[in-house]
Structures are given as structure tokens and as C-alpha cells.
């Protein structure tokens, strides 16, 4: 059912085909004839599959996948025999688990692949796309359930409760087992990074008021709940109520109502995640780095010689790594390579795949002053930068082809102008210590010693500018 069918990719189609094959076991093989015509692709798929299965960690995922297919088939037959819509809606959550296992496989495959010529950014996006596809597919399934339920309200068929409770518990047990025992990196990341679903919000609200009564529960209830566990439990709860009401009072309509409730909960849980991964796919700047990026870009625009920062476009490639491109307009007499090095140095802490284009107006016209200043003769004030010129407004989330967005806000100018000189220097040198450590976080632990070593080698210099508490980066260029 997932079947993202990207047949023509040179060496990437294979994951997708794996996806297809896994799902085909219950899709009844719609595409068998189709695949027979592409022996080579099948061969490639087997090759890639062997690559993945050579890792021991993926065996567990495969095992769970097989179990999941069996369980889903079992549940689907029970859905048929009980004629219960609610159980069908719950079974779709099991199918979603299958998708998430496939996503997990893809992510382990992605970690093994190097960027190719065609996929120059690497294969991280496959992970995102598969998360997006699985959440959207589950939502479409929920939409289908809603439609069926509306039709059922017209004429409620009888629901047999024989296998209903058994099916519920089997599905619940299996879902929880899969969720808790398989470490599903992409989905864990998305569920933590995406905004909370309404189900989570309500549970948090309830548990907050519950903790007001019983404070002992706060360590268990107050942290953010895992949305998948939550929806599984809530769905099982709804099914339990359905079973009870049908058994006691023969209210068959409860089944339809709880199917709708489960479908709505599925929507609520999956929607924030598909929005998050969809935003990654749309190449938007993730909101949590906008502030940091803004600060860096403002710093960049205060560098000596920089007039304007424009066409900036930053986005995440996969879940995490930021890529970006930016155009920097500089003064005609500024040294391009120097500015480039400084801009790259600033932004590199945050943006790993960076391209900076330096742009000069009227570059063909000969300069009035001497063309390039020797590196050593830069005065201190060169590094303070033009204080009147400001950084761009926060990069908008969608930032291609949006000229005019960078018109600077007037309000901020006062703060910039009042900035004392020594502060400007502190700004300049900060990338060495603060920015790096802050920007890269734990992953950068290894490189800190070398930075230290470098700094100590120049430690004699800073005292030359007595008023300046931090070593000016200028010192490091002195021959």
C-alpha cells in the first residue's frame, strides 16, 4: 500500500521496492506483472536488501515486520468475521506500525549509503519522505474509516463480539511490543520535534489536574507522553467500551461511533507529524533554528565590507542536518576571500552544507583606492563593521524568490548603534569558543582540545589591545 514507486532512480529505487514488497504480502501483489519486466531493478533491490540485512540490527526489524504482517492478516480476518468498524480502524494502527518498521529499515539503509551524483545531498530525505508517506497514508485510511462510518450510520449492521476483545488485546499487545522494543529513530525524532497533538494536550491537561490530587504520579504522568503509545491505549479503551456496550445492551451503533473516535484520534496524532515532515520536504527553515540563524546572519552583516545579505535559504536535508545558500553583497574595495572565509566560518557552526556567493556591484569598474589590502594591515576598526547597517530580518520560513523581505527593521537600529566597540570585538571572536560549543553541542566534544591548542599558541597576542577582554581574531593574522 505504501508503494511509493519511484521506479527510475538509478540506485535508490531499491528501498522503495523493498517497501513495496513488504507491503505486497497483503496488498495481494498488484504490481507483480510490473516488476517482472524489470529484472534488473529486482536484482538491485536484492543487492540493497542484502546490504541492509548484513547488519544485525535490522534482523530484529525484519523479524518484527514478519510478525506484524501475520498479526495484521489475522486481525483483518477477524475484522471481517466480527464486522466491526472500530476493530478495522484499530487494525490500521497496526498497519501503521508496519510502515514505521519499514521507515526504520530505510533509515538504517540511509545511514549506510553515501551521496551519489544524482542524489547529491545524500539519501537522508528518503527517511523524511517515508515518514511523511506513512503518516499521510494512515490519515487517508482514517478518512476512509470516517466515510464508511457515515455510511454505516444509515444502516447499522450487527456486530459480533466474539473476536472483538481478543483482537483488541492482540493488537494492543503487539503494537506496544513493537513500539517499545524496536528503536525507531526517525519516528522518535519526529514525535519529539513535532508540535503536540490534541490527544496529548488533553492527556497532559487531565494528568496535570490529577497530579494536583495525587502528587506522587507526577513523575510518571507529567512528561510528554509518547503519542503512539497514547493512541494505542486510547483506541483499546474505546474498543473495550464498545465491547461492553454491545455485550450488555446490544448497542451496535457504539461500534461505529468508536470507529469514528479512533479515526479522529488517528488524525489528531498523525497530523502534527505529517506537518513537520512535510515542512522538511518543502525545504522550509525549521522554526527552532530561526532565532539562531537570525543572530548569525546579523553578525555576518556586520562584518567589514558586507553590505547586504540576501537570497538566504536554509533548510534541513534530513532530520537534523541544515543546508543553506546565501548571497552576500560586499563593498567594492573589500577582500572577497576574506569576507567569504569569515562568513563561512560564522555560518558553518550551524549550517553544515553551505554555499556563499560573494557579489560586488560594478566590479568591472576600476577601484579608486588600492585594490586589495594586505592581510596584515587591517585595522581594528575593520572588524567592528559598519554599525549602521543591520542584519536581515529573520529569515522567513519560505525564502526563495522573496526579494524585499530583507528590508531591515528600523526599530532595531538603535541597539546596534549604541553597541560599544569592545562588544563588537567580542562578537567577532565568539565563534571560537561560544558559538562552536553552543551551536554544535555534544557532538563537538572531540574538537575542543584542538581549538584550545590553537588558541594558546597565540596567547601572547591578546594583551596588545589592553581594553579588550577577549582575544581579537585579528591577532591571528599577524605574520
Amino acid at each position: 500500500m505504501v508503494a511509493v514507486d519511484v521506479i527510475n532512480f538509478k540506485d535508490s529505487d531499491t528501498t522503495i521496492h523493498r517497501k513495496k514488497q513488504e507491503t505486497d504480502t497483503y496488498v495481494l501483489g498488484t504490481i507483480h506483472p510490473f516488476r517482472k519486466t524489470h529484472k534488473s531493478i529486482l536484482g538491485k533491490f536484492i543487492q540493497e536488501f542484502n546490504l541492509v540485512s548484513s547488519d544485525r540490527r535490522s534482523w530484529k526489524i525484519l523479524l518484527f515486520g514478519v510478525l506484524n504482517v501475520i498479526c495484521t492478516a489475522c486481525l483483518l480476518t477477524w475484522c471481517n468475521s466480527t464486522n466491526s468498524m472500530a476493530l478495522t480502524a484499530y487494525t490500521y494502527l497496526t498497519i501503521f506500525d508496519l510502515f514505521s518498521l519499514i521507515t526504520c529499515l530505510i533509515s538504517s539503509w540511509v545511514s549506510m549509503k553515501k551521496p551519489s551524483q544524482v542524489f547529491s545531498f545524500g539519501f537522508d530525505r528518503f527517511e523524511v519522505l517515508s515518514v511523511f508517506a506513512s503518516t499521510v497514508l494512515v490519515q487517508l485510511g482514517a478518512l476512509f474509516i470516517l466515510k464508511e462510518s457515515v455510511e454505516r450510520f444509515m444502516e447499522q449492521p450487527e456486530v459480533h463480539t466474539g473476536r472483538l476483545l481478543v483482537g483488541t488485546f492482540v493488537a494492543l499487545f503487539f503494537n506496544l511490543l513493537t513500539l517499545l522494543s524496536v528503536k525507531n529513530k526517525p519516528f522518535v525524532y519526529v514525535s519529539e520535534a513535532a508540535s503536540t497533538s490534541w490527544l496529548q494536550e488533553h492527556v497532559a491537561d487531565l494528568s496535570r489536574s490529577l497530579c494536583g490530587i495525587i502528587p506522587a504520579l507526577s513523575s510518571f504522568l507529567l512528561p510528554r507522553m509518547n503519542p503512539f503509545v497514547l493512541i494505542n491505549l486510547a483506541g483499546a479503551f474505546a474498543l473495550g467500551i464498545t465491547y461492553m456496550l454491545i455485550e450488555i445492551n446490544n448497542y451496535n451503533a457504539v461500534d461505529t461511533a468508536s470507529a469514528m473516535a479512533i479515526a479522529l484520534m488517528t488524525f489528531g496524532t498523525m497530523y502534527p507529524m505529517s506537518v513537520y515532515s512535510g515542512k522538511v520536504l518543502l525545504q522550509t527553515t525549521p522554526s527552532h533554528v530561526i532565532g539562531q540563524l537570525d543572530k548569525l546572519l546579523r553578525e555576518v552583516s556586520t562584518l567589514d565590507g558586507v553590505l547586504e545579505v540576501r537570497n538566504e535559504h536554509f533548510w534541513t536535508i534530513g532530520f537534523g542536518a541544515l543546508a543553506g545558500s546565501v548571497h552576500v553583497r560586499i563593498r567594492r574595495d573589500a577582500n572577497e576571500q576574506m569576507v567569504l572565509a569569515h562568513v563561512t566560518n560564522r555560518l558553518h557552526t550551524l549550517v553544515s552544507t553551505l554555499t556563499v556567493q560573494i557579489f560586488k556591484d560594478d566590479w568591472s569598474r576600476p577601484l579608486l583606492v588600492s585594490s586589495v589590502l594586505p592581510a596584515g594591515t587591517h585595522s581594528l576598526s575593520d572588524y567592528i563593521g559598519p554599525s549602521g547597517f543591520l542584519g536581515p530580518s529573520p529569515p522567513p520560513e519560505f525564502s526563495f524568490n522573496t526579494p524585499g523581505r530583507n528590508i531591515q527593521p528600523v526599530v532595531l537600529s538603535s541597539t546596534q548603534q549604541h553597541r560599544p566597540y569592545s562588544l563588537g570585538l567580542a562578537y567577532g571572536s565568539s565563534p571560537y569558543a561560544g558559538m562552536l560549543g553552543q551551536g554544535v553541542g555534544l557532538g563537538m566534544g572531540a574538537r575542543m582540545p584542538s581549538v584550545q591548542g590553537y588558541r594558546t599558541s597565540f596567547s601572547a597576542a591578546p594583551q596588545r589591545y589592553g581594553s579588550n577582554p577577549l582575544p581579537s581574531q585579528m591577532n591571528q593574522y599577524r605574520p
Binding site: 532512480f9 547529491s120 497514508l137 490534541w198 519560505f398 524568490n401 522573496t402 554544535v440 591571528q476
Partner: protein, 751 residues
């Protein structure tokens, strides 16, 4: 003692409502509870009375009695300022509307019984207003209010669906003699026209009356201030409405024969009802609202009312209460009592919870946006922004604006017109289905509605592009539409396989005209959309579609098949999705027509599943190219149709004078019209960078890249980098290290 004075107002939480200690309020609460109990009793009594007395007469007596008592207490004529003529007219309007609402309420009482009326009708205005604000505005007040609203709705739905009161069903047959007057008859016919049972009609009626009541109360607040107090207005309004009702009552009592044997025996119950329902409740409520808070008053009042209603419903038929009841003597009437059922119990619980949640004060304050920090380090919030934003965009204006935007663009206009056509067809089908009571038609109508959601998505995407300059969303929406079609194909497939095993008997009478109609509608759509495509840069959709399902064997070499239309293919990923949807629907209609013919002519029941199997496969195959293209864009693949040109261009770049080498060439399609690219160049130190940039940009523009970023590096750059940091190669090494680290400490890299 000390901290009482030391802490400032905000951090101590002293700012806000001043809570009155509970002990002083206990007597008011007890008074309120007693009044509510009496009111519940009065409503049960009035249900019994309404079995013999006509609604209008009943209401007239209530209003008159109430007016007399209030005139005595309130003295509206002798005290206060004179009532102007203009105000009399407004009081008249007030009286008419209030008597209409009470008529609806008491009519609902006759239909639903006292308990259900209590549950549905006796909600405080505050509860209903906060319910409506949750439902229709964004600023509901947190998840707890949303939960309360959900409980309320669940409770009403419970009453509607799960309250299978068989005694109601008996009443629903309503023998013709039951209707006493034209009014009740009109209401009955209105309800039966809706196609619901009487008691469900009563539920709907009561909910409507509740909303009316709240709107009326809110509206009449201004009038009550003008008149000089709510009590004076109440007294005057009751008087006027009894005057208004008088002629009607006279006509009624002269034309119809009364069922009442002796009015004198009814005097006591009437007095009780007038006292408990009309007068005491009004006074106590106004006192408690003044002394307690309004929210608390509402909470206690409604909870008590519901509980006492449940209690009374349990004991009403009990011999103990017989002496309380006015009409205990008629034995046969006891059988038509509205009994307690599970549904009512559940919904009563839900109502109690909903009321207590909705009438609890919202803990959260206003939602402000963080503006910055004060010099002391305290956060500063802006509370105005949201409120202003909410008021600036009203709903009709929003609809009007988006409609205008839709109609401006060609693509979205096409989708919109087709959506309207489709919806019209769907509703005709649905109405006809309800009319003829044909389940097949209704379910087909819902299926069409389900299909329309794809069109809505396409329309939304077309609109989004204009709102947020979101070109990429078109591709994403094309992808979602493709997935949607996949799901549909999958379900059709599964359905047809299960039918293949066990072919059901199909009634073909209704199917043929509907499917012909659907075919016509979809043909119009196909014409419109294929026209749209010929208007666009290419006929991407048509050709790709044929490509998809006629000779799919060649699809691996399709890069050539489409090379004549660069840019056009992905340009309309959205439109392609919509087009494929329409195409799938058309194929469905054709399949249904063929199978209908086969079944009716030859009796081949198996034709239907085979047809749908075929259709599912066709849909599936036609979606593949769309999905593949959308995936390529979303995965940031180098555009396949530009691949050759790009390789050629890169070779050319390397031959530019002064260029040593290049690295990290990335080219991808950012949106329909933008192919973005980034490249790093290493050049000799004596070359002017800007010239190289110009040349490279020109070369790559020829290859189709229209948004390029070139980073030109000289040797000096690497020297600077090594000066600025620990060396460029070490930076590179560290970046790689970072990437490998990313897999162990996920998320920490960026944050």
C-alpha cells in the same frame, strides 16, 4: 506573616479574583440547591399537566400567574421611571420572542419527557456561550474547555442515538387525535418531515430552543438596562406576553373541547409550577448570581438540577410520589411515561461533567506573544496582537477574499468550477437517495463526497501558492493526491477480490442512470482539465497518463519521452493529481456502465468485480508516474531531464579560464519554476572572482538552473579558513565526524 507583605502582587498570585470564603456563601448555595430541586419538581408536574392542558393555555396560565405575583412584588408601574412608547414596543417584541421560546421548550417537554428536557434545556447561558466559543472561535480557552464541549456534544448524541426508549416509539405513532391544534400539528409535521422519530425531534427542538434562549438573553440585556433592571423587564414582559397569548387562548378554548374535568383540581399544581419554575427560580438565580459568582452559580445550579431530575425520574411513578402528582388517577397514562434508559443515564453523566468543565473559570490567562525582555530581565508579552488579528478577519470576508483569489487563477478556477459541479451532483444524488430511500444511492453520494476531498485538497494547494509564496506545496499536494489514489485503488482492489470470491446480487435498476450522470460530470471535468493542460507549457498529464498504462514497460526510459517539455511536467503536479482523480472517477463510471450492461443482459454477476479489478489496476498504474515525479522533486534529486545538460555544463565550467576545479555540485528542483543549484569553485589567485561567477552563472543558466549560488574559492580562502579555525581540512574532517556522531546523539547537533 512576613511573606504576606514581602511578595509582590504578581508573583504572589494575589492579582485576580478575590475569593470569598465558602462559609459565608453556604446559605446561598443551599438556597440555590433547594430552588433547583423545586424547579425540577415543577417541571415534572408540568409534564403531567401538559398531558391534559394545551400548551398555549398552559403557557398563558403560567405567564399570567407569574405576572400577577411579580406585579405585586415588583410594582413596575409605580416605581421607577416611566416606560416610553418606544420601549413598550420593544417590550412587546421581547414578550413575543420569550413566549415563542417557552412554547418551544414546553412543546419539547411534551415530546421528550421531563428528564430529557431538564438535561437539554436548563443550561446556564455561560455554559452555552463558552460551548459556542469553543466550537466557533479559536480562542476557546485551552484543552479542558474543548473537552467540555466534546462531552456536551457526546451527551446530546447519546440522547439522540442511544436512548432507545420504546415508550417513545409508541408515542411516535401519534394517532391523529393527539394533535389538539394547528400549532402542534404544524410542529409535528415539521418534525416528521425531518424524518426522525418524535422524541429525537424533541431533542433537536430543545437544542434549538436552548440556543435561541441564550441568544435572546444576551440580546435583551441592553433592554433590561434601559427599562431599569432585569426584574422589572421580566415582570412587564410576562404581563405583555400573557396579554398577547390571551386572544389565542380564547380562540382555542372556544374551538376545541377541553380534556380537563375540573380546573379547580389543577389550581394547586399550577400554583406550584408558577411559584417554582417561574418566580422562585428567577429571584434566587439573580440573588445567587450577585452574591456568588455567575460561573459558580451556574455550576452548582445545573449539577443540582440534573441530579434531582434523575432522582425524580426514578421515583416519579413510585406510589410515594403519587400524592405529589396531579394526574395520578389515570392509569393508562402511566404507561406512556418516559422511563430511564442507559442512554439517558450516560448522557446525564456527560452533561454534568460538561457543565462543570465549561463553567469552571479558565485558568490560563490571555495568550500573549513574547516581545522581549525588560531591563530587569522579566519577559514582556504582547497581549494585543491576537485579539487584533482575530477581529480583523471576519469569516464572510475571508471567504470572499479566498473566492476572489480562486477565481483569479486559471487552474484554481477550473478546479473550483468542477468542484461545484461535482458537489451539486452529489447533493442531488444524496437528496434523491433520501427521497427514494435507496441506500445504494446514499452510499454512492458519500463516496462522491469522499472523492471531492481530493479536489478540495488540490484547490487548497492552488490557493496556498498564492497566499504564502509556497510553490513547493503544489508538488506536495500532488504527492498526497497520488497517495490518495493509491489508497482508493487499494480499497477497490480488496473489495473486488472479496466480491470475486462471493459475487453479491446487484440491483441494476438504479445504477445505470447514476453512473451515466457521473460519467457526464466527469467528462466535463476531463475536458476542462485537459484544456487547462494544453494551455500550460505541455500536455504532461495526458501523455504521461498514456505512458503510464498503455506501455508501462518503457517507463524506465521516460526521460526522453518528456524531454520536449522541461518544466512543464512538474509544473502541474497538483493539476495532474486532480486530473488523475477525475480520470479514475470516469473510469469507474465507465466500468459500472459496462458491468451493468453485462449483468442485465447476460446475468454475469462476475463482471462487476472484474471490472473494478481492472479499474483499480488502471488507477494504480496511472498514478505511478505522478508519484515518481513528485518523489524526485521531494527527494532533491537532480532533475532527470536536465541531467545531460548539467553534465555538459559542468564540463564547460571546468574549461573556463582560471578555474582549477569544482566540488559539491548540487542541483535540484525547488519548485515548479525554480531549479536551484549550488557549486563550489576553486580558481587561480589572479583571476577576478566576479567574472568567473558571471560566466558560470551564464553556462548553468543555459542548462536550466535559474537560481544559482556559486562559491568561488582561491588559495587565500583556505589560508583565511585555517587562520580562523583549526584548518579547513580539519573542519571538513570534523563535519564528517559530526555527521557520524549525529546517529548516536540525534537532535543534539542542531539544537
Amino acid at each position: 506573616m512576613d511573606d504576606k507583605y514581602s511578595s509582590n502582587v504578581i508573583s504572589g498570585g494575589k492579582l485576580g479574583r478575590v475569593e470569598v470564603p465558602n462559609a459565608r456563601l453556604t446559605r446561598y448555595i443551599v438556597l440555590l440547591l433547594l430552588t433547583k430541586l423545586l424547579k425540577a419538581l415543577g417541571i415534572f408536574e408540568s409534564y403531567d399537566l401538559l398531558k391534559v392542558v394545551h400548551v398555549v393555555q398552559f403557557l398563558f396560565i403560567l405567564k399570567l400567574g407569574c405576572a400577577v405575583i411579580l406585579l405585586f412584588f415588583q410594582k413596575p408601574f409605580s416605581s421607577g421611571k416611566m416606560v416610553a412608547k418606544r420601549q413598550w414596543i420593544r417590550i412587546l417584541k421581547h414578550a413575543v420572542i420569550s413566549s415563542v421560546i417557552s412554547l418551544l421548550g414546553f412543546f419539547g417537554l411534551t415530546l421528550c419527557g421531563p428528564l430529557r428536557t431538564l438535561l437539554l434545556f436548563e443550561h446556564s447561558d455561560l455554559v452555552v456561550i463558552s460551548l459556542l466559543s469553543v466550537l466557533f472561535t479559536n480562542s476557546g480557552g485551552g484543552p479542558s474547555k474543548t473537552r467540555g464541549a466534546a462531552f456536551f456534544i457526546i451527551a446530546v448524541v447519546c440522547l439522540l442515538l442511544f436512548d432507545n426508549d420504546d415508550l417513545m416509539a409508541k408515542m411516535a405513532e401519534h394517532p391523529e387525535g393527539h394533535h389538539d391544534s394547528a400549532l402542534t400539528h404544524a410542529l409535528y409535521t415539521g418534525i416528521s418531515f425531518l424524518g426522525v422519530a418524535d422524541h429525537k425531534g424533541g431533542v433537536v427542538l430543545l437544542v434549538l430552543a436552548l440556543c435561541l434562549k441564550v441568544a435572546f438573553h444576551t440580546h435583551s440585556r441592553k433592554l433590561s438596562v434601559e427599562i431599569g433592571g432585569a426584574k422589572r423587564l421580566y415582570a412587564l414582559s410576562n404581563l405583555v406576553s400573557s396579554v398577547v397569548l390571551l386572544p389565542w387562548v380564547i380562540v382555542l378554548s372556544s374551538t376545541t373541547e377541553s380534556k380537563v374535568e375540573s380546573w379547580s383540581s389543577l389550581a394547586l399544581p399550577f400554583a406550584l409550577i408558577v411559584f417554582s419554575v417561574m418566580v422562585l427560580d428567577f429571584y434566587v438565580e439573580s440573588i445567587c448570581t450577585a452574591k456568588l459568582e455567575a460561573l459558580r452559580c451556574a455550576r452548582y445550579g445545573s449539577a443540582c438540577l440534573f441530579l434531582s431530575g434523575l432522582l425524580l425520574a426514578n421515583f416519579w411513578t413510585h406510589p410515594l410520589t403519587d400524592q405529589l402528582r396531579a394526574m395520578s388517577k389515570s392509569g393508562q397514562q402511566a404507561s406512556t411515561e418516559h422511563v430511564l434508559s442507559g442512554g439517558v443515564l450516560v448522557s446525564a453523566c456527560f452533561f454534568v461533567m460538561a457543565d462543570s468543565i465549561l463553567s469552571s473559570p479558565s485558568e490560563k490567562g490571555q495568550k500573549g506573544t513574547l516581545v522581549g525582555y525588560s531591563p530587569e530581565g522579566m519577559p514582556l508579552y504582547n497581549l494585543m496582537g491576537d485579539a487584533l488579528q482575530h477581529s480583523s478577519q471576519s469569516l464572510p470576508r475571508f471567504i470572499k477574499d479566498s473566492l476572489k483569489q480562486i477565481l483569479e487563477e486559471y487552474d484554481s478556477r477550473q478546479i473550483f468550477y468542477f468542484l461545484c459541479l461535482n458537489l451539486a451532483f452529489t447533493f442531488v444524488e444524496l437528496f434523491y437517495g433520501v427521497w427514494t430511500n435507496s441506500l445504494g444511492l446514499i452510499s454512492d453520494g458519500f463516496h462522491m463526497l469522499f472523492d471531492c476531498s481530493a479536489l478540495v485538497l488540490g484547490l487548497f494547494a492552488a490557493l496556498m501558492t498564492r497566499w504564502k509564496w509556497l510553490d513547493g506545496f503544489l508538488i506536495l499536494s500532488g504527492f498526497i493526491n497520488g497517495l490518495f489514489l493509491m489508497v482508493i485503488a487499494f480499497f477497490v482492489f480488496v473489495e473486488s477480490v472479496s466480491r470475486l470470491i462471493d459475487p453479491p446480487n446487484i440491483n441494476t435498476v438504479m445504477l445505470a442512470p447514476v453512473s451515466v450522470g457521473g460519467l457526464l460530470v466527469n467528462l466535463v471535468g476531463i475536458c476542462a482539465f485537459s484544456h487547462a493542460h494544453s494551455h500550460g507549457a505541455s500536455k504532461g498529464s495526458c501523455s504521461s497518463h498514456e505512458h503510464g498504462h498503455s506501455h508501462h514497460g518503457h517507463s524506465h526510459s521516460h526521460g526522453h519521452g518528456h524531454s520536449h517539455s522541461p518544466g512543464g511536467r512538474s509544473m502541474n503536479a497538483n493539476m495532474r493529481g486532480v486530473f488523475l482523480h477525475v480520470l479514475a472517477d470516469t473510469m469507474g463510471s465507465v466500468g459500472v456502465i459496462i458491468s451493468t450492461v453485462l449483468i442485465s443482459q447476460f446475468g454475469w454477476l462476475i463482471a462487476d468485480p472484474i471490472c473494478s479489478l481492472f479499474i483499480a489496476t488502471l488507477i494504480f498504474l496511472s498514478v505511478i508516474p505522478l508519484l515518481k515525479d513528485a518523489c524526485e522533486v521531494l527527494l532533491l534529486r537532480t532533475p532527470p531531464e536536465q541531467e545531460k545538460d548539467l553534465n555538459f555544463a559542468l564540463e564547460k565550467v571546468q574549461k573556463i579560464e582560471g578555474v582549477l576545479s569544482y566540488r559539491d555540485p548540487h542541483f535540484w528542483r525547488h519548485s515548479a519554476s525554480v531549479i536551484a543549484g549550488t557549486i563550489h569553485l576553486q580558481i587561480m589567485s589572479d583571476v577576478v572572482e566576479q567574472r568567473v561567477i558571471q560566466q558560470v552563472t551564464a553556462v548553468l543558466k543555459d542548462a536550466g538552473v535559474n537560481n544559482l549560488t556559486v562559491q568561488v574559492e582561491k588559495e587565500a580562502y583556505f589560508q583565511h579558513m585555517s587562520g580562523l579555525s583549526t584548518g579547513f581540512h580539519e573542519v571538513l574532517a570534523m563535519t564528517q565526524q559530526m555527521e557520524s556522531m549525529k546517529y548516536y546523539k540525534d537532535g543534539t547537533c542542531i539544537m
